[in-house]
Each structure stands twice: as structure tokens, then as C-alpha cells.
């Protein structure tokens, strides 16, 4: 008899539950065997886990249409943006069926696939249901698949982007958005007139500030790891990048370390900041007169040299759902190009283009069909999105990615707050990364990283 451990206990409980459930579902199984769709025995209202707030809105906007079209509807379970990973893992580790559909950033995919938390989408249909040819290669090949299997469908295609005030640039005699980080620093310095106008702002709060570091690190030619999993962050590219970010703090609002996603939007939309690097959905808010003081005065451009693509969102089926077929229907519906194009340009959510067909300037409208920006602004915005993707730098999504990222974020934040120098912070993060790699099995990590890098090359990304 094996020893009673927590894992054995959980596994045995799950087997017992499965046996019990077998009694309840045996009729369904028989019907299924006779050719009746097993989806018919599943619930039609499905629990959709997603970070709470604006990103859940599209599910609600299209709930009625979804019900008419595919016979299912969503019940939103909102989780905090920072803390989403631990909440999902806590549920999944106990094999809870509380979620049917999981919406999460692709950097969780590596861990979730490795731990068996996700169903393959192709278990319930075909890849062709998702029109993958129309999904931009970076999202399709890097974010949705593992080991050649499709585990997720795209919901949101995030990237960082420069939003800047053309009027403030004109006044300072600056004619174009910066194309190098040295130019970016010089521009921020030239535009810095506190306390009425700040030169730039970025995500300085603990939780995601690492992304703004990686954006510069990528431009300096940095790589997450070498092929033998030696961390790349503590090299020259990393130290120089963090020093640049620390320098930019001088030309930022004094509360820069308090600035997260909503605060960064606010810093730009309230007219006090001349230039920000922010997720690309800021543009939609900046052109909305109910949210912005700068409608018609904004310019948009990709980040200098390389463009980090942090976060994004994908939809996947929980391995422990009782309703996998219907979950598939919900995901497939929300992923449709004709549905998703209605939300990726709506200022009341945070979703961004992830399909080639989304890059249509005439489609820059909210979900009701109302244009969300002028034709000229739409052209600039779509062009900045395309330009950013051309120099895109993907987010780490190998097993353990959330942990690598969390410790990097902590150390970047420590350096930003003056607790350590850039070199010290990155050396410390690098040491921690080595410990994580060892704990997760170095050989397995080397292989996972190589597969991941290979997926870039297939997607045409120069890494």
C-alpha cells in the first residue's frame, strides 16, 4: 500500500469522485456512445475566470448573442490582476471545477500545461475553428501552443506602445517620437516641467514594473536566457536598461513608484504627462472625450528598437471543468474574428488586436459600431500596432515563468526605489533565477526554453 501523502490523498479522492460521478453520468456516457452529443448533458452557463474589471466586459456585451448563436452564456468570476496566478493555481491544484473557462496571460501557459491544468482545444474540435491563419504569428505560435498542441485561443493581443502629446512636442520643437532610448531620455528631459508637466511616466509600482525594464532590455539586445539557461538580465544589456529606467524616474511624476496600470492611464489622460509607454489600449481611452483631456492631440509609436509584448490574454478550458464541450463553444465564439473585432477597439475594455483582419482602420469602432477615434488617429494607431509587432519581443512563458518574473519585478522595483544599484539588483535576480531553474530541473528547463525560442523563429521573430 502506498504511503498516504497529500498528493495520494488528492489523487485517490479524485478517483473516488470519478467513480461516484460515473454513476451519475453513465446515462450520458451511454447516450454519447450512441452518437448523442455529450455537450447536451453539460451546463450552458459557464464560469469564466478573468482578471476583474474592464476585460470582462466583452463577455457581457456579447452574452445574448452568444446564447443565440451557440447556446451558452458566461458567468464572470473576476480575480485581481496582480494575484491572478496564485488564485488559479490554488483552485487547480485541488482539482476544483469552479472554473470552466480560464482567461489568463500566456506567460502562465508553460506552468499550466506542465501541470496538466488545461484541456487541448483540439480534444473538442478542430484548429480550423479558430482561423489560426488570421491570428498574428507571434500570438499564434508563441502564446497558444505547446509541443505542437493548441491549448488556448487568443482573446487579447497586448504590446507596449508610446503615447505622446503632439502639442507638447510641437511646443518644445520636437518633431517625432523617439526611436532610441537615448532619444527617449532626452525627450523626457526636454518636456519635463514639474509640477505642471512631467516628461514621461511608466509602470513603477511593484507587480509589473519589470515589463518596462524588459522593454528597454530588449532594445539593448538582451535575451531572457542563453541556451544553457544562464540568465541574461545581469549582463550589460540589463544593467544599462535598468539604469535608463532609473534615469527616466527623474523626469516622471513624483509618485512614479505608486503608478500601476490605472494610475499610468490617469497620468496621461489628465494631461499632466507628455509621453508614456503603456499598453496599447491607452490610445482608445486617449481619444475618448469622456476619459481624456487630450483628444486629437495624441501621437502613437512603437517603443524604440524593440517592443515588449507583456501580458495579453488567452482563453483555455480548465482540465477539471464538467463542461468542456460547452466551454469550447464559448471560447470559439469569443475568438471569432467578427466578434473580437468589436471589442479590440472599444475604449471600455482592454482588449487589443491579435488578428491580421483586426488591422483595418475602418474597424476602429466600439462594440456598438460607433467610431472610437478620428480617421487620422485610427491610421496612426493601427500603424503603431503593426510597427510594434514587427519588432515584438515576447513575454517569457516557460514553466516557472511567473516565478522568474515575480522575482525580477521585485528586484527592479528595489532598484527603482533606491534600495540597490541596477547591477546589484540584477545580479540578485539572476542568482534567484538560477535557484528557480535548479529547483524546476535544469535539463527540463533547457529543453522548454529551446522549444519556446524555436516557436519565435517559426513565428518569424528575430530573437
Amino acid at each position: 500500500m502506498p504511503p498516504i501523502t497529500r498528493r495520494n490523498f488528492l489523487a485517490d479522492s479524485a478517483k473516488a469522485s470519478a467513480l461516484l460521478a460515473l454513476g451519475g453520468t453513465s446515462v450520458g456516457s451511454l447516450l454519447s456512445a450512441c452518437g448523442t452529443s455529450s455537450a447536451s448533458s453539460e451546463a450552458t452557463t459557464l464560469a469564466v475566470e478573468i482578471d476583474a474589471g474592464q476585460n470582462a466586459n466583452p463577455f457581457m456585451w456579447f452574452a445574448n448573442d452568444m446564447q443565440s448563436a451557440v447556446g451558452v452564456s458566461p458567468k464572470i468570476i473576476g480575480l485581481p490582476f496582480v494575484g491572478q496566478y496564485e488564485k488559479i493555481v490554488s483552485e487547480m491544484i485541488t482539482r476544483s471545477n469552479v472554473y470552466d473557462v480560464l482567461v489568463f496571460p500566456p506567460f502562465f501557459v508553460g506552468d499550466f500545461v506542465a501541470k496538466g491544468f488545461l484541456h487541448k482545444l483540439t480534444d473538442f474540435g478542430s484548429e480550423s475553428d479558430f482561423k489560426l491563419d488570421d491570428v498574428l504569428p507571434v500570438y499564434r505560435d508563441v502564446y497558444l501552443k505547446r509541443n505542437g498542441n493548441l491549448y488556448a485561443a487568443a482573446y487579447d493581443g497586448d504590446q507596449l506602445q508610446i503615447a505622446y502629446r503632439k502639442d507638447m512636442f510641437d511646443k518644445a520643437g520636437i518633431t517625432k517620437a523617439p526611436t532610441t532610448w537615448d532619444e527617449f531620455v532626452a525627450t523626457a528631459q526636454a518636456l519635463h516641467q514639474p509640477p505642471t508637466q512631467y516628461g514621461n511616466a511608466f509602470y513603477g509600482q511593484r507587480g509589473f514594473c519589470y515589463g518596462w525594464f524588459i522593454n528597454i532590455f530588449a532594445a539593448n539586445g538582451g535575451k531572457w536566457f542563453s541556451s544553457d539557461m544562464t540568465p541574461g538580465i545581469a549582463g550589460d544589456a540589463g544593467v544599462k536598461a535598468l539604469e535608463t529606467l532609473i534615469k527616466l524616474k527623474r523626469y516622471a511624476p513624483p509618485n512614479i513608484l505608486q503608478i500601476g496600470y490605472p494610475e499610468l492611464n490617469e497620468a496621461y489622460l489628465n494631461g499632466s504627462t507628455a509621453m508614456v509607454v503603456q499598453w496599447n489600449d491607452l490610445a482608445l481611452k486617449a481619444e475618448d472625450s469622456t476619459k481624456s483631456k487630450s483628444v486629437g492631440m495624441n501621437g502613437y509609436a512603437p517603443s524604440p528598437v524593440a517592443n515588449y509584448m507583456p501580458y495579453s490574454r488567452v482563453m483555455a478550458i480548465s482540465a477539471y471543468t464538467s463542461n468542456p464541450h460547452n466551454s469550447y463553444k464559448l471560447i470559439q465564439y469569443m475568438n471569432r474574428s467578427e466578434v473580437s473585432i468589436k471589442d479590440v477597439y472599444d475604449p471600455n475594455c482592454g482588449e487589443d488586436p491579435f488578428r491580421t483582419s483586426h488591422f483595418d482602420t475602418s474597424a476602429v469602432k466600439d462594440h456598438t459600431g460607433k467610431p472610437t477615434m478620428s480617421a487620422a488617429a485610427a491610421t496612426t494607431y493601427v500603424s503603431a500596432n503593426k510597427g510594434g509587432l514587427a519588432i515584438g519581443y515576447p513575454e517569457l512563458s516557460i514553466p516557472g515563468a511567473p516565478r522568474y518574473i515575480d522575482i525580477l519585478d521585485l528586484k527592479v522595483n528595489e532598484a527603482l526605489s533606491g534600495g540597490s544599484t541596477a547591477a546589484q539588483a540584477l545580479k540578485s535576480a539572476s542568482d534567484e533565477w538560477n535557484s528557480i531553474t535548479t529547483a524546476l530541473d535544469k535539463n527540463a528547463q533547457v529543453k522548454a526554453y529551446a522549444d519556446w525560442v524555436d516557436s519565435f523563429h517559426k513565428a518569424g521573430i528575430n530573437y
Binding site: 509618485n255 513608484l257 532598484a415 529547483a439
Partner: protein
């Protein structure tokens, strides 16, 4: 006679009856309190990470040894100590002062005491949200008033030096009323004759407070300090919502760091070891405080 009968009962069938009577409560206690505690203690000696490929295994005191070499553990302990000393000192002094003032009010004591309860019964997430608004750099009322006074605006939780005092301020707002109520209840329970005698002997109000009221309140003060000490060591919610432990690790408390290890990194063995060290620290400190408060303290209280 009754005692004899009682003793006889206890030595016979009565003992079985007594055991049967206490058995359900004992089983419940063992089941929901002692067993999980022992299970957790066992876990603290294991290498057990839910996201690791390695099978959980016994590693002796390695988790505890690692703690002593973990700079983040020491910095979180430092943050917790500074936070605990700050909030307990400020809340004790303010709580006692307000309770004494409240005691001297001729009317409305109950009404005020009820109103004072409000911050303490609010959900910590609501408290955090409300303070997040108050601290907001652009639209928060605190900066609005600073602006009116032509003072520089503050990023209240935006600097490593300012964030912890901001959390102390939030905790002060939330828990000082609780301290006031404890002190107020303590003052109300004191024998009035002692104060009257002191006044007849010519003591001033200040002398009565210092030499009579506070010494007589020492047990209440000890309980209040221990309760707030436990609260301060467990501080997590407002940190999670307001600063997420940042900037850097300037507000990363022991409880927050334990959470990060346990629920973000899923390193169950290590985080449990940390929780046990916290438990030992609180127990030792509580024992010291109780011992200190129970020492005889001079003639005036005799």
C-alpha cells in the same frame, strides 16, 4: 458529603461519563486545531513545492536553516518589527488618551463609543480601497489640501521611506478606536473609591492618571498590546491592497512574505517554516509582555 460523593462518582462510572462528555469537544479540538498544526509542523521539515517536479521529501531543519540565510526573511522581519512597535506605541498612547477624555465626558459616551467602532468593523479591503483613494496623487483629498496650503504634493506610498509610515497611518485609523474601547472598558471597571481617596489626599488629575489609573489598567494594557501585537505580525491585507510589499521590499511584512512563498511560489515547506517562526516569536513576545505587566509595581497600587 457532596465532595465525597463527587469524588466517588469521579472514580467510578462518573469518570466514564465525564470522559464521554468532554470527548466530542476534545475530538473537535484535535481534528480542527491540533491535527492541522502537527501536519503543518511536519510540512515545515519537508521539501514540498507544488510547482516543482521533485517528490516531497523530508529535509530535516533545512527550511529553518535557509530562513536564517534569507535576506528577504530578515528584511520582512525588520519591516514587521518597525510596523509593530510604531502602531502599538502610537495606538496605545492615543487610545489611552482618548479613553480618558471619553471617561470625563458627562454625556454621549455610548454614542461616541459606538461611532468609534466603525473603522474597526469595516472590511480591510474596503479600508484599503478608501485609503488608496485618499492617497491618490492626482485626485486624493490629502494632496488636495496640501495643494490648498501651497505645500508640495506627496506620493504617499510611492517612496521606500514614505510607504511604511503611510501603512502605519492606515492601521492607526483602523485600529485606534479598538484600543480606545478596550481602555475605556478598562477604566469603567476600575473602583472609583481609589480615585476619590487619591483626590482627598490632594493628588492632581495628572497624578491620578499616572500613579493610579495606568498602573491599575496594566492588565488591560497587556491584553491590548498582545492583541495588537498579533494583529501587527499578521498584517497582510492593507499591504496587499495598497503597496503589494513595495516599493522594493520596504513594506513586505513577515505575513506578506510568507504568503508570497506559500501562495505565489507554492513552496509549502518553506512558507510553513516561516509561519512557525512567526508563531514562536509572537508567543515569546506575548509571554514577555504578560510577565512584565504582572510584576508588582510600587506602593501606589497596593
Amino acid at each position: 458529603m457532596a465532595a465525597v460523593v463527587g469524588r466517588r462518582r469521579a472514580s467510578g462510572g462518573g469518570r466514564r461519563f465525564a470522559l464521554l462528555t468532554v470527548a466530542p469537544a476534545t475530538l473537535l479540538l484535535v481534528g480542527i486545531s491540533i491535527f492541522p498544526l502537527l501536519w503543518a509542523l511536519r510540512l515545515s521539515f519537508m521539501q514540498d513545492s507544488l510547482l516543482s517536479v521533485a517528490t516531497p521529501h523530508f529535509i530535516g531543519v533545512d527550511n529553518y536553516a535557509h530562513l536564517f540565510h534569507d535576506p528577504l526573511f530578515w528584511s520582512s522581519l525588520g519591516v514587521t518589527a518597525v510596523f509593530a512597535v510604531s502602531v502599538i506605541t502610537i495606538q496605545l498612547v492615543a487610545g489611552l488618551a482618548i479613553a480618558l477624555a471619553l471617561d470625563r465626558l458627562p454625556r454621549y459616551q455610548q454614542v461616541i463609543a459606538t461611532i468609534l467602532l466603525i473603522p474597526s468593523i469595516l472590511s480591510p479591503s474596503v479600508v484599503s480601497f478608501q485609503w488608496r483613494q485618499l492617497f491618490d496623487y492626482y485626485s486624493g483629498p490629502l494632496n488636495y489640501f496640501l495643494g490648498l496650503l501651497h505645500l508640495p504634493l506627496q506620493g504617499w506610498t510611492a517612496s521606500a521611506r514614505g510607504a511604511l509610515p503611510a501603512l502605519v497611518l492606515v492601521d492607526f485609523w483602523e485600529w485606534t478606536p479598538f484600543m480606545v474601547l478596550l481602555m475605556f472598558a478598562g477604566i469603567k471597571s476600575l473602583p472609583r473609591s481609589v480615585f476619590e481617596a487619591a483626590r482627598i489626599d490632594g493628588s492632581s488629575g495628572w497624578q491620578v492618571t499616572i500613579f493610579q489609573t495606568i498602573p491599575l489598567l496594566r492588565r488591560v494594557i497587556a491584553i491590548a498590546v498582545i492583541l495588537r501585537l498579533i494583529g501587527a505580525f499578521k498584517i497582510f491585507d492593507i499591504i496587499y491592497s495598497l503597496t503589494a510589499g513595495g516599493p522594493g521590499t520596504s513594506t513586505e511584512s513577515l505575513a506578506f512574505y510568507t504568503y508570497v512563498q506559500g501562495f505565489r511560489y507554492f513552496d509549502l515547506g518553506y512558507s510553513t517554516a516561516m509561519a512557525f517562526v512567526t508563531l514562536i516569536l509572537i508567543t515569546v513576545l506575548a509571554r514577555l509582555i504578560l510577565g512584565f505587566m504582572e510584576r508588582p509595581i510600587g506602593r501606589s497600587v497596593a
